[in-house]
Subunit: 525 residues, 2 copies
């Protein structure tokens, strides 16, 4: 017990250590750490009153909100598990989540989709038993209708405030920090998404590594404008909590509102990349808002002038590294490997990385294998997926499902998802490698590479290329461009031109690409 | 297993991630991380050959050396416990350590004291059973003679190199990071010192907090010139290991040699305070050495010119905070609380602090109680002290034995050791508080406060004051100075002037002061 530190414990300490610090800003709501702590205790009491005990699940169906952090912390106080669902999902997908996770309490924001799901407002009210998408899931044995009825549904806003206000504050007994506290749905295996479970210990460890690499200090103010159901935003929200900073919530990205909030709250960092930054620059073209509190990586002349350059390893050259939900966020950081050969940098100070062969043997530098990991920030497995968990943890190492290589300087290169490896002849081709070469061509704006079935070679390499506006380029130019850089078997057999590459977050949506351009036959699938 | 990260694991990762980085410099010896990793595996094999299995102890009797880090890491690889003993101790004190810890292997540097202890070189050789100092210790049941004979004694230098060279490299099985790996002897309770046991998990967590507050990066080079048997030096050595930096070892502080090493190795930080800094400035008065790689806190005009100011929270204002071996090093940091009311700053991001009454109840801000803690960096108890461990962990909180106060801004003030609280009339007087006021007087160079037995008031406050050279000051001046600042019962009844205050490390040696100036009657003892 003396060694445990749950997210709830972090809050309890801040409530004492930082009585005057603003913990949360969301619209008109401003909470100091003691106020947040008191609300979380009430909320935990209210959840306990609805049957949320250790190990039970609480689901959030809505956009970004202070309630996401409050529910997470209240679940931590109870030893329960909180899941912020991707509210952009279709009704069928959310039904799967409900059936899979079997939450005791659902807190929901009104939308066409959620209203159709909530008892008393939609078709479930009629009492008709409904089919559950992906009903073969172990956790999905109960039909959605029963699940929906078993859970308490609390509508966000006034109803949530009332629910919270009537919660009883207890002296909650200590909770082990190895218990899962956060469930984030992530990559699908065998056709269904899986909820990665992260313990307080893992989240606290991951926050520590972000604090080190981002050099976060107690005056850090994070604007959660990216989706909190993704680890990329959640990890900064939690690191900000850990160091005792301020979390500002906005429901979703809006360039003008973001500028206003950065100015008003003196935001240190927001979740901004590429085109979002361009949108912010455009929204603030007149210099109406003071964005100088943002400490950021260089992007464009206008952006660099509006913001303050950050010299922490996180921002010093290229942001980021390699990560996934299952490792708590980031596994490797570019900032820990300036001038590195590997495209993903070096591991966080709190993990180990190995490149393993399928038989569990470690591969020497230069050879491609699966990126595997151990360490303090790793997840506790997927909710209710014993077989998958055993496979992912083979040989005592978490198998990321991604291929990578240790370079001779010790840094890591991310090659691409194992399932997307292309087999052409007897050779392995990794889409990411070919994509990098294609995107380095001055006339190419974006590119994605897939494998298409081929009678003679098993698969052939096919590239989908988005030319830069005003540039002319031929299929033969691009094939030749790749041929001069990579081994001959890696060059595309075919190049098609497109308006855009379909995306899933920051990465190409390979399922959509395969469907549209005839991909298939991957040996790993 | 997937979540474990031992010190040995940290080294294993660096051996892969940083193949060209210098891990260790000690005299002519330079080791890259792969070289250090290979030596540690051989050393672990050699130790295993002498019966060092999980839980067994290995003792170092010598000054600072790369061997200290190697032995620690080899013990981590085996699940064993390493103790670097205070080699400055007298023979009787070292005999106590030997009998208390019952090490399997002792690695020793030759000195008059250690030679007298090592079998084959001193009185033990004669076979006479010797009395064991502190023989009442649970771990001290065996006489020293037997202990000394049971252990393998390996002399540092050539014999150690040979021992290591013949070690067999194994694939060592995974070790849980919750096992103790480092034993540091610390404050005496009930008249005998106790070995605080720190696990890999605690040390890795503490390193993380130092990495955050000191903003350490992979190019960090630490010069271990302070004693490695104290947590103050060891904690920076381990944080440097954690981030993949370079540890430079020197046997003991020597101003000129320190300058040479800083220049040659581009040292980022050494273990330097007060008069040591003055000695370094004097040794480098001609500017012979380039010390600009040192990133340090301001000290004097000459020092500031020789070094580079560091803007990390650790160095920004006043260095440090409150700590002790039992919390892994630092519990609170001044750098996390700029402008704070409390003299010790705010807790590390990985711990919780509570000010508790003797009955375990939490005290409100402004009230003095015992500083208690929980968190990731805390120790695992003392070696072979079940009763003391139960007392120190009462109510599920580690009791530091020090009194403190939570200020209204949430920061912590360290008041002084519980055992040194003075009871005068019905009032509590804390020496550190009175000392601070005395030392604030412009004519005072140093001061210490003790309690002397008093028939009427139980104890009376007595101050030992060192005047600044050339200053004249009277007892009455000083009593009046305290009276105008603190409550009347806190003013010294008597002030004596002295040449120096006897010290134990950085703090007054209160035992010596009591003996010399008639102190006693403390209610906490």
């Amino acid at each position: 017990m003396i060694h445990d530190l749950t997210l709830s414990d972090v809050l309890s300490e801040h409530a004492r250590s930082r009585p005057a610090t603003t913990a949360v800003v969301d619209g008109d709501l401003r909470l100091t750490y003691p106020q947040l702590d008191a609300r979380v205790s009430r909320l935990a009491g209210a959840l306990a009153g609805r049957g949320v005990t250790a190990g039970e699940r609480v689901l959030w169906l809505g956009q970004n909100s202070h309630a996401v952090l409050e529910l997470l912390l209240a679940c931590s106080r109870l030893g329960a598990i909180f899941c912020p669902a991707n509210w952009r999902q279709a009704a069928g997908e959310l039904r799967f989540v409900l059936a899979d996770l079997e939450p005791r309490v659902v807190v929901w924001e009104h939308s066409e989709t959620t209203a159709a799901l909530a008892p008393g407002t939609g078709p479930v009210e009629a009492g008709a038993p409904e089919a559950v998408a992906g009903g073969s899931a172990p956790g999905a044995a109960a039909g959605f209708a029963e699940v929906g009825r078993a859970a308490s549904w609390v509508r966000a806003g006034e109803e949530y405030e009332e629910f919270l206000a009537f919660g009883e504050m207890h002296d909650f007994p200590p909770v082990a920090d190895t218990l899962p506290v956060l469930a984030l749905y992530t990559a699908a295996f065998a056709g269904r998404p899986n909820a990665a479970l992260l313990s307080s210990a893992a989240l606290v460890a991951h926050s520590s590594s972000l604090l080190v690499v981002r050099q976060m200090e107690p005056d850090f103010t994070f604007l959660a404008n990216g989706p909190l159901f993704h680890v990329g935003t959640m990890m900064f929200c939690l690191a900000t909590l850990q160091i005792g900073g301020t979390n500002v919530f906005m429901p979703a990205f809006d360039a003008e509102e973001l500028c206003r909030l950065v100015d008003a709250e003196k935001v240190t960092q927001a979740f901004l990349f590429g085109q979002m930054i361009d949108a912010v620059v455009a929204a603030n073209s007149g210099g109406k808002y003071d964005l100088s509190s943002l400490r950021f990586v260089a992007h464009s002349a206008e952006w660099d002038e509006m913001t303050t350059p950050d010299d922490s390893p996180w921002c010093r050259s290229k942001m980021g590294g390699y990560g996934q939900t299952e490792v708590g966020g980031m596994l490797t950081f570019l900032g820990l490997a300036p001038g590195a050969a590997g495209f993903a940098g070096r591991p966080s100070p709190l993990v180990q990385v190995r490149i393993l062969a399928p038989d569990g043997a470690e591969l020497p530098p230069g050879e491609v294998g699966e990126i595997c990991a151990r360490g303090k920030s790793l997840f506790s497995g997927y909710f209710a997926r014993p077989d998958l968990n055993a496979a992912k943890g083979a040989y005592g190492w978490h198998h990321t499902g991604d291929l990578g290589r240790r370079e001779s300087d010790g840094t890591i290169t991310f090659i691409g998802p194992k399932l997307r490896m292309i087999k052409s002849g007897n050779e392995n081709v990794y889409p990411a490698e070919v994509e990098r070469v294609l995107k380095a061509h001055p006339a190419v704006a974006d590119a994605a590479v897939i494998g298409v079935p081929d009678e003679r070679w098993h698969q052939a390499v096919k590239a989908v290329v988005v030319p830069r506006p005003g540039e002319t380029i031929t299929e033969q130019d691009l094939i030749e461009h790749v041929r001069t850089t990579l081994a001959g078997y890696k060059k595309p057999r075919e190049v098609v031109f497109a308006e855009a590459v379909p995306k899933k977050g920051f990465t190409p949506d390979y399922d959509a690409l395969d469907e549209q351009y005839g991909g298939g036959g991957y040996p790993g699938v």
